[in-house]
Amino acid sequence: MTVTTPKQQQQPVKKEATRDAYGQALLELGETNKNIVVLDADLAKSTTTLKFGKKFPERFFDMGVAEANMMNTAAGLATCGKIPFVSTFCIFATGRAWEQVRSTICYSGLNVKIAATHGGVAVGADGSSHQSIEDFALMSSIPTMTVIEPCDSIETRKAIKAVVDHQGPVYIRLGRSPSPVITEESTPFEIGKANVLREGKDVTIAACGIMVPNALKAAEDLSARGIEATVINLHTIKPLDRKTLVTYARRTGAVVTAEQHVLEGGLSSAVALALAREYPVPMEAVGIDNRFGQSGDPELLFKEYHLTPDDILQAALRAYGRK
């Protein structure tokens, strides 16, 4: 567990898409680690892997619109000591090619890194077909899989480096739209180790991805109402940092989760399981409740699907009230 202080939420907040940080990280890591190879499925501009492809054409393969084949091609490369990064949109990586990930990559214990972009409804205008809100569930359910969603661009660069150093399959969810940069270069990142961004005695908010900035905003607003919240960045959905979670569940007596994912099988499910087993406290979950996404501006979609700071605040009040 690490306690860090996030940047002050002064306006204007710097925004950067985590997918851009991914492309940049690959470029840097590809320089020093010659085992890194990158595969994309005709989305190399969108996922930003094209930067790597231009610099290292001999280690970049556009596999066309054929995700299942791409996934197992990566598996084959991994058996020969390569560290393949496989990129496409989250829904195609985890949905279209799920069984390839399960049966060939994970069952074989292969060192394949699935770095997919366009997670959640924040994709916006493309609508439901391109908005992945089930990917944590799909990937977390596979034995041995590691599942990560970084909270901002700075964390993404660190996460990609950690993913290269990690031995074994990893799914890392990245975002399309620019999102607030809330961590510092000095903020630590370790797979499976949560970062506590703010400490408060009354309620714990555990969030991942771009819900972390929303959680911080909710905590500020709660503070104005006299309720002090702890905010934990649970960037690793699996394996979950149960120790940090339970520590703060004990201290605060109430927990709220916040994720851009359906309520089944994602962060809230993982947190609920850990708390039920180790230290049950009142818990509320902010997430998408049994609905598909739709086209629209991300901000409007966050309101429609109850993912805003105010939704987190209301959930925190409910959890707090149940203590």
Partner: protein, 273 residues
């Protein structure tokens, strides 16, 4: 291989492998005799007559790779790997049993000599293409062989892989199609015809070789010709007989996934002498 065995020697070895298959499946009480027996000659010729490998060093970087994409044929592969010294022959008796290294379908983490786990059809050609691409990146001259079933090629992913291997001109990749003509629900042309095979693979940019998959001389020649083809991958479409070598199993769809009883096994072994 320093010296290639004669076709006679290969035939004798194949008979031995078929006997292992019958014994293993009878002991296990389940498994897939039909597709194991149809693939046996192709696999014996590959392992004893072509593949560059070292049973004492299964992870040798420069070894040729073999992927059994039709993973249910693994009894044939296990028997060959055991005969070649990858693991003790006595272990063949543990097939499909709890705690065994010899799982019902190939498992690369448990079994020495297995290059990648398989069993879910349609995955292996993609993986083989990945291995072939790795060879290219590393400037190594190893070759990759992938065995497909003819029911398996109904999987869409096989054609995604065929397209990619053709596109990237992976001439170090050789697919071997065990064309026994039967799948679980019946003859392939009745269930879901993948025919014509030659024209399809040709259209995807592959060199196609047709052979009798039980003729050792033809098989060896096909492996050599495939190696000589440059600028495109090769597929060897091998006409085979499902259940080959056991008269009452030959061309019988019911022997796809059923183990022989002890009496049937005895009868089968009597034919394989």
């Amino acid at each position: 291989m320093n010296t290639r065995p004669t076709t006679q020697e290969l035939q004798t070895k194949a008979k031995e492998i078929r006997r292992h298959i019958i014994r293993m499946l009878a002991k296990a009480g389940s498994g897939h005799p039909g597709g194991s027996l149809s693939a046996t000659d192709l696999l014996v010729a590959l392992y004893y007559g072509k593949l560059r490998h070292d049973p004492k060093n299964p992870k040798w970087t420069e070894r040729d790779r073999f992927v059994l994409s039709k993973g249910h044929g693994c009894p044939a592969l296990y028997a060959i790997l055991a005969e070649m010294g990858y693991f003790p022959i006595s272990e063949l008796d543990t097939l499909r049993q709890f705690g065994s290294r010899l799982q019902g379908h190939p498992d690369m983490k448990r079994t020495p000599g297995i290059e990648i786990s398989s069993g879910s059809l349609g995955h292996g050609l993609s993986a083989g293409a990945g291995m072939a691409m790795a060879a290219r990146i590393d400037g190594l001259d190893y070759r990759v062989y992938v065995m497909l079933g003819d029911g398996e090629v109904e999987e869409g992913q096989v054609w995604e892989a065929a397209m990619a291997a053709g596109h990237y001109k992976l001439d170090n990749l050789c697919a071997i199609l065990d064309n026994n003509g039967l799948q679980i629900d019946g003859p392939i042309h009745d269930v879901m015809s993948p025919l014509p095979l030659l024209e399809k693979w040709d259209a995807f940019g592959w060199h196609v070789i047709h052979i009798d998959g039980h003729n050792m001389a033809q098989i060896l020649e096909a492996y050599d010709r495939a190696e000589a083809i440059k600028g495109k991958p090769t597929i060897i479409i091998a006409k085979t007989v499902k259940g080959k070598g056991v008269s009452f199993m030959e061309n019988q769809v019911d022997w796809h996934g059923k183990a022989p009883t002890p009496e049937q096994a005895e009868k089968a072994l009597a034919e394989l002498v």
